[in-house]
Amino acid sequence: MSVDTLPISIGFGGGAELLFGNKKNFAISLPVQEITKWQISDLLKWIQDNLLKERPELFIQDNSVRPGILVLINDVDWELMDTINYVIQPNDEIVFISTLHGG
């Protein structure tokens, strides 16, 4: 089976969606020509270039997410999945939840 793209879904919650035009879910296809092994760190760059319209510093810091933003990969805490080094698989669900917004 040959694949030209890597289809995944990404979600934003807890107020992080406010940085993405208030949209919570995106179905995206990552190009696999240049990058064959997509890691979360690559995805973060892709998000910054393609989805993040304003104030990137509120989402990204030092090649990772800003401290206080939780990441779940297929409903598992990314701290159990090697965080930014996790290699993304087809149809992964990656969710970013802010803890920084009002409670």
Partner: protein, 359 residues
């Protein structure tokens, strides 16, 4: 893929910041709920038969708090009557959605809900205040009014205690802010799990030792609906910096949160330091370190068209209040005069209110 630290055989879904344990969903729920139960029983936060108002904002902390108090109340027979209390600041487009969330909590958790507005309590909405003073000092007004609003609401509802959703990260942040400001009076008090029980309605913080990460993960896995937004007016810059600093340190070592709380708890204030003594506000009877409480000073400014009054330490403010009180004394001799500002208190002066300096 890691498996659960309890050796239950299931797949771990999160790493706990407090202990470093990796837990499956079921073991996490169990640990999360049991720890809050232990916090409640160890600190004797509640007594059987009490009516407890959950201060509900529609945000993650108060949503999780309402849910958890409901299940613990049933599981461990606390025998509490739980109600929801929300404050509507009157900020167009800000509270509308969060109040919808609170109404959903009311229906989902089957708890009666009371919504009190700043307009009801003070005669001003935040929109009106911002129109008057601009966006520079509005958080001062909003914060001072909110602290008293919960007490006034609790008095109206005749509850025994108010439970707030402050979590471990919030408390560590406040300790840090009080250190940065050199505010010794608040430094020790802000870590207390119960405040105000001596002189008014007690406030308790059942989530005091609960990490923000776990609250958000719990809400996510339980699919609890909450609302998150930043206040549309200028956010509190100072608190924002403290929060960023704390989150950066927490990333390196999550134990800093508990360490800061323990430091705040253990600090004792040197007796040589001049601690403010608490008296009651001569206007509204709320506990205050001044003869007129901050809320009444701010209201006086607003009602006189001098909204800057009361922001910062101004002896001018006190002089004006003193002048006004002289007039108030004169006019209250005339029972017909219902226009007088001193009759504006919608709750009544006989009600004991607590401390406006702690949050």
């Amino acid at each position: 893929m890691s498996s659960c630290s309890t050796k239950c055989g299931k797949k771990a879904v999160l790493k706990r910041p407090k202990t470093g344990d990796v837990l499956c969903k079921e073991c996490f729920f169990e640990a999360f709920e049991t720890e809050i139960h232990f916090t409640i029983t160890r600190a004797k936060l509640f007594k059987a038969g009490m009516t407890v108002a959950v201060a509900a904002s529609g945000g993650k902390d108060s949503t999780v708090l309402a849910y958890i108090l409901k299940i613990l109340n049933e599981r461990f027979n606390y025998d509490l009557r739980l109600v929801l209390l929300s404050i509507d600041e009157g900020i167009t487009g800000y509270r509308d959605d969060s109040l919808d969330t609170v109404k959903r909590n009311r229906d989902d958790y089957d708890m009666p809900l009371t919504i009190l507005s700043y307009k009801d309590l003070y005669g001003w909405t935040m929109d009106e205040i911002v129109a008057e003073i601009g966006r520079k000092n509005n958080c001062t007004f909003c914060g001072v009014f909110r602290r008293q609003a919960l007490d006034r609401g609790a008095a109206l509802l005749k509850v025994d205690c108010i439970a707030t959703g402050h979590n471990a990260d919030d408390i560590a942040e406040t300790v840090l802010m009080n250190i940065l400001r050199g505010d010794l009076a608040r430094l020790n008090r802000c870590t207390s799990i119960i405040t105000g029980h001596g002189d008014g309605i007690a406030r308790v913080k059942p989530l005091k030792y609960t990490y923000e990460k776990e609250i958000v993960m719990y809400a996510y896995f339980k699919q609890l609906v909450y609302f998150s937004t930043e206040c549309i007016f200028a956010p509190n810059a100072y608190r924002g910096h403290a929060r960023v600093l704390l989150k950066d340190m927490e990333k390196i070592d999550p134990a800093v949160i508990m360490n800061i709380i323990h430091s705040g708890e253990s600090l004792t204030v040197n007796e040589e330091v001049n601690m403010p003594t608490l008296t009651k506000c001569s206007r509204c009877n709320h506990v205050s370190s001044q003869t007129v409480c901050k809320a009444c000073v701010l209201l006086e400014g607003l009602n006189r068209g001098l909204p800057k009054l009361g922001i910062g330490k101004s002896s001018k403010a006190k002089k004006m209040i003193a002048e006004h009180d002289k007039k108030k004394y004169e006019c209250s001799s005339s029972a017909e005069n219902k226009q007088c500002i001193c009759k504006n208190d919608p709750v009544g002066n006989s009600i004991d209110r607590k401390n406006d300096v702690t949050w």
